[in-house]
Amino acid sequence: MKKIVAKAVLILALVLMAALPLAAQKGSIKIGAVLAVTGPASNLGAPEAKTLEMLVAEANSSGGIAGRKVELVLKDTGASPEKALSFARQLIEEEKVLAIIGPSTSGESMKIKDVCEEGRTILLSCAAAEAIVNPVAKWVFKTPQNDAFATRWIYQYLKDKGLTRIGVVASNTGFGNAGKAQLEKYAPQFGIEILIAEVYDKEATDLTGVLTKLKAKDVQAVVNWSIEPAQSLVAKNIRQLGMDAPLLQSHGFGNIKYAEAAGQAAEGIIFPCGRLLVADTLPAGHPQKALLQKYKKQYEAKYNEDVSTFGGHAYDAFIILAEAVRRAGSAEPEKVRSAIENLKGFAGTAGIFNFSPTDHNGLDMSSFEMLTVKNGKFTLLKP
C-alpha cells in the first residue's frame, strides 16, 4: 500500500512540476489598487473600486489584455496615508504587481510616491494635486486634471464677472492644502484679492463659525476646495447664514452625491469638471463622446448609481495601462512605463491625454468644462 501511495505522490509531483513552467509562461497581469473605498473620501474611492472591478471583469471575459488574464488586488485605505503606504509596500514587495492604480487622494499619493519610484512599480494616481507629477518622477503618473487648471478656470470666471474680492475655504487634506496654495499662487495674475483663507477639518460637523468670519468680511464670492462630504456643509451653512455670494467649488465636487447632500443649497454652485457628467450634451463626433457614453451606460446599468468623475479617473488609469501593455507587447515594467510616456492623443474620460517624459499627467486646460447645479442635476454652465 505504502509503495502505491509513494508512487502516486511522485507522479503527482512530477505533473505539477511540469505544469508550473507552463503557468509561468503566459503570465497574468497583476494590478494593485489602493483606494479609499470607505471613510471620508468614499465618494471617490467607492466609484473607483467599482469601475476597476467592472473593467477587469470585462477584460477577462474577452481574453484579457493582449491575451493575458488580469488579476486585481484591491486594498481599502479609508483615506489614511499611513495605510496607503503600508498597502503600497505590500503590493510592491509581496504581490509584485506591475502597476498600482490609485490612491484616491492627493495626501495618500504624495505619501507613496517615493516607495513606487524606488520599487520601480508604475503608479497611476487618481488624485489631482499637481505636486504628484511636479517634479516628475519616472514611474509616477496621474489621470485627473491638475488643480492648477481648475484654479485658472475658476479665476477666469471670477475675473469676467468682476468678483475680485473672495474668501477661500479648504479642507485640511493634501488636496485642500494644495488647492489653497494654487489659489494663492494664481490670485495676483488674475487680479483676485483673497480677503480671507481658512482651512477646515475634513470631518467637520458644522462650519457656521468660519463662514460667519467670511460673511463679516463681505466677500463677493466663496471658493471651496475639498473632496470630503464636509464640502456640502459649506454650501448649506452659507445659505443658512443668509449670504448671497456665489459658491465656486473645485473639481472635487464631481459626484452627484455631494449635490444631493447639499439639497437646495447646491443650486447655482459653479465648478470646473471633466465632460463625463455632461456626456449627452456633447456634439456628435466629439473625440470623447463615444467613450463617455459607453462608460456611463455600463456603470449605471451595473451599479444603479450615477457615474462620477472620480470613477472616471480609475477608468482612465486602467485603459491607459491596458493600451500601454498592448503597445509594448509585453508586461515588462520598464517597457510598459515607457509606452505610457509615449501615449499621445489618447481619449479618456477626463480629456485627451498627451504624455511625455516631462508631462506625466498629459492633460491641459481644454480637458475642463464649467458646470453648474440646476434642479439638483449637473449641467453645462451657459455663459
Partner: protein, 296 residues
C-alpha cells in the same frame, strides 16, 4: 465689530453648541444608573439617523423619526441583555472596554446594512437653505430644533428622575446596588431600562442633528468624544449641566474662530477644557462630594 456681527457669531456658537449638547445628554443616563460611560453612545446617534433617513424615503418624517427611535431602543435593550447583564460584578474598566467593543460591532454592522455613503435627513421644517432672522443675524431653523429638543429632553429627564418611581429606582440603583435590591428594586431591569432610555434619546438626538451634520456610518466615534468631553465639562451625571457646558463650549470655539485662524479651534477648546478641569475637577457644575462617592 458691529453688534450684528457679534450676535451672528453668538448664533453660530449656539448652532455648534446645540450639537455638542444634544450628544452629551445620553451619556449621563447610563452613567447615573450604572456608573459606567457607554462609549457606544455615538453609534446610537448614527443608528437613529440612518434608520430615519431610510424610512423617510417612504414615510412622513415624524413617523420615520419615531420608528427610528423605537428601533434604536430595541437595539439598546439588546446591547444590555447580550453583553452587560450576564457579567457578575465587573469592574468599571472592563465595562468601558466592552462598550468600546460594542461600538465597533455596531459600526461595522451599519456599514454592512447601509454602505459607506453619507446621508442627511430632511430638515424638520423648511429646507437646507432656510434661515431664521433674529436681530439682524441668521440661524438655521434646524439648529433651533436641536436646541428646543435638548431643552425638552433635559426637563423631561429631570422630572422623570425626580418625581417618578422608576426614575427614583434608577437613581437608587446607581447609588448603591445592593441596598436597592434589598428595597425590592429589580436592578437588572433598571440597567436595561437605562440603556433603552439612553439609546432612544441618542436616536432622537441623531435625527435632530442629521440635517446639520450629515450622517455617515463611522461618525459615532467622533460624536462620542465630543459628547463625552462636554458631559465631563458640565459634571458627569447632570444632564442640564451637560447642555449648558455644550453651549458654552460651542460659543468658546466660535469666538476663538473670530479671532484666530480656524486651524487653532481645537487647540483653544481643549486648552479651555483643561483649565476648567484643573480648577474644578468635577466639572463646571459638579459637586466634589458627589464625585468622591463615584468610582469613575
Amino acid at each position: 465689530m458691529r453688534f450684528e456681527q457679534v450676535f451672528q457669531y453668538f448664533l453660530a456658537g449656539l448652532t455648534e453648541g446645540a450639537i455638542f449638547a444634544i450628544v452629551a445628554i445620553g451619556f449621563n443616563i447610563i452613567y447615573n444608573t450604572t456608573g459606567i460611560i457607554n462609549f457606544a453612545q455615538g453609534e446610537f446617534l448614527v443608528l437613529g439617523g440612518m434608520i430615519a433617513v431610510s424610512l423617510s424615503a417612504f414615510l412622513p418624517l415624524a413617523l420615520a423619526v419615531a420608528l427610528a427611535v423605537a428601533a434604536t431602543i430595541v437595539v439598546g435593550a439588546l446591547v444590555d441583555l447580550l453583553f452587560i447583564r450576564w457579567l457578575a460584578s465587573p469592574s468599571v474598566l472592563r465595562l468601558v472596554v466592552i462598550t468600546i467593543g460594542i461600538s465597533i460591532l455596531l459600526r461595522e454592522g451599519m456599514l454592512h446594512l447601509w454602505d459607506e455613503k453619507v446621508r442627511a435627513l430632511r430638515p424638520f421644517t423648511g429646507s437646507e437653505i432656510s434661515s431664521v432672522r433674529i436681530l439682524g443675524a441668521r440661524i438655521s431653523p434646524q439648529a433651533l430644533w436641536a436646541l428646543g429638543i435638548s431643552a425638552v429632553i433635559v426637563v423631561a429627564l429631570s422630572l422623570f428622575f425626580r418625581l417618578t418611581l422608576i426614575g427614583r429606582a434608577m437613581r437608587a440603583t446607581a447609588a448603591n446596588r445592593t441596598a436597592a435590591r434589598l428595597c425590592g428594586i429589580n436592578t437588572r431591569w433598571m440597567v436595561t431600562l437605562s440603556f433603552m432610555l439612553s439609546a432612544g434619546i441618542g436616536a432622537l438626538a441623531g435625527c435632530a442633528i442629521s440635517p446639520l451634520t450629515q450622517t455617515q456610518y463611522d461618525m459615532g466615534a467622533s460624536l462620542a468624544i465630543k459628547g463625552f468631553t462636554v458631559a465631563i465639562l458640565g459634571g458627569l451625571g447632570n444632564s442640564m449641566a451637560a447642555v449648558a457646558a455644550g453651549l458654552a463650549l460651542g460659543l468658546v470655539e466660535v469666538f476663538s474662530v473670530s479671532l484666530l485662524p480656524l486651524a487653532y479651534k481645537d487647540a483653544v477648546s481643549l486648552t479651555v477644557l483643561l483649565i476648567i478641569l484643573f480648577f474644578r475637577p468635577s466639572g463646571l457644575f459638579g459637586r466634589a462630594e458627589v464625585q468622591r462617592l463615584k468610582e469613575f
